[in-house]
């Protein structure tokens, strides 16, 4: 475990392999909810929370249940079930504990269940930080940190996109590319500029 390792996880998860602009995970919500900044921010914060928590939970399941019993082929089923249950649980808790927070975040939680970014980071963690069924040194901390960073990368792309689209509302756009097609073209240009971070590799 070293600071350089953390920095490299941070830069590669947020900039070089940004979940949305380079790995295309969570694209549906990215296009659908990025019309205004406020809901985009609420959605992003819920994604940061869920990716972090699900990284922790899925790491524990992979390390202490699936590997010891030789069940790694059940990875997909167990991960998605645990993530779906966890998200449902969080939704129920927020509704009960704080209705105000539920109105702000809660409505996005069911959407996160089938958000590829959450499942993607869980699968990625089990691919990257386990070598032949053994966790690498500091694996748990790296996995958690990668969960946070993937969420931050999502937030960054989401905020940039919603800012651009808010301004676009005032422009006259050809009818055929209004909304979705234009959003993809903007995302393409953003992704091109993120390509510049490739030089950061170390």
């Amino acid at each position: 475990m070293s600071a350089a390792q953390f920095l490299s996880i941070f830069i590669s998860a947020v900039f070089i392999y940004n979940v949305i602009l380079s790995r295309f995970l969570g694209l549906c919500s990215f296009i659908a909810i990025s019309k205004e900044t406020k809901p985009a921010l609420a959605m992003s914060l819920s994604v940061v929370f869920v990716t972090t928590m699900s990284s922790i939970i899925t790491w524990l399941i992979y390390r202490f249940l699936l590997i010891p019993f030789g069940l790694t082929y059940l990875r997909t089923i167990s991960f998605i079930l645990v993530i779906a249950t966890f998200v449902q649980f969080v939704e129920m808790v927020t509704r009960k504990v704080s209705p105000a927070m539920y109105r702000f975040f809660g409505i996005y939680l069911p959407l996160i269940t089938v958000n590829c970014a959450v499942m993607g980071v869980a699968v990625l963690n089990s691919d990257m930080f386990f070598v032949q069924g053994k966790p690498v040194a500091g694996s748990f901390v790296y996995a958690t940190f990668q969960g946070i960073c993937v969420g931050l990368g999502y937030t960054l792309a989401m905020l940039l996109m919603s800012g651009i689209r808010e301004r676009l509302e005032l422009c006259s756009i050809p009818k055929a590319v209004k909304d979705f097609p234009l959003a993809f073209i903007i995302a393409s240009i953003m992704s091109l500029s993120f390509l510049g971070f490739n030089g950061f590799k170390f």
Partner: protein
């Protein structure tokens, strides 16, 4: 028979999952670097769609409505695991090329979307043809996108070079190229639809 044929056909053009419903775009964009990858992903997704549609149409009366989503997810994940293991055994190269996007079929919105919107209300046979049509429509869309990207981005089709002196536009092979191609294609199909309505 004609009714089944219609169920099959609607997934290909009128309700094409990629271009009309705009579902399941994550894998579409990520794997469409080459036509071979596109076809591989298309077949895997079609298999999962078919299997889950049939099973969900069969169990629709047993599953309580409140916990239906987790139940559907388990069914879908089972088929994804089968597809993943088969691919690992018989085509390891393809499995490496598709990477994490194979297990991610489980969160592909097309599969759960069809289960919610179609299979849980219809008969088994109808669901079978709906799944088949959606799968084929998805595969065709993948082939179209990956053919454009491979042709202009690398100057090859199925990995074979087509020209002697052709300077490919590498950007189309990169993530931003995928987003550009899908954006322009969606706009193009919108334009066609508007022309037709006029």
């Amino acid at each position: 028979m004609k009714k089944f044929f219609n169920e099959f056909l609607k997934g290909i053009i009128r309700e094409n999952p990629t271009f009309v419903l705009a579902l399941g775009l994550c894998p579409t964009l990520a794997v469409s670097v080459s036509v071979t990858n596109g076809i591989g992903m298309g077949i895997a997704a079609t298999f999962v769609l078919l299997g889950s549609n049939i099973i969900i149409a069969l169990i629709k009366n047993i599953v309580p409505a409140r916990i239906r989503i987790p139940c559907y997810i388990v069914v879908i994940a089972t088929f994804v695991t089968i597809a993943e293991m088969t691919m690992k055994a018989y085509s390891p190269a393809l499995n490496r090329a598709l990477g994490i996007y194979v297990p991610l079929i489980v969160v592909n919105c097309i599969v759960l979307g069809r289960a919610e919107a179609y299979a849980q209300k219809q008969s088994v046979l109808n669901s079978f043809f709906d799944g088949l049509g959606m799968g084929v429509g998805f595969t065709l869309a993948l082939i179209l996108i990956s053919a454009i990207r491979e042709f202009f981005g690398a100057g090859t089709i199925f990995g074979r070079a087509l020209f002697k002196s052709f300077e490919p536009a590498f950007v189309l092979g990169m993530p931003s190229g995928a987003l550009l191609v899908i954006g322009l294609l969606l706009g193009f199909f919108n334009l066609l639809k508007m022309r037709k309505e006029e």
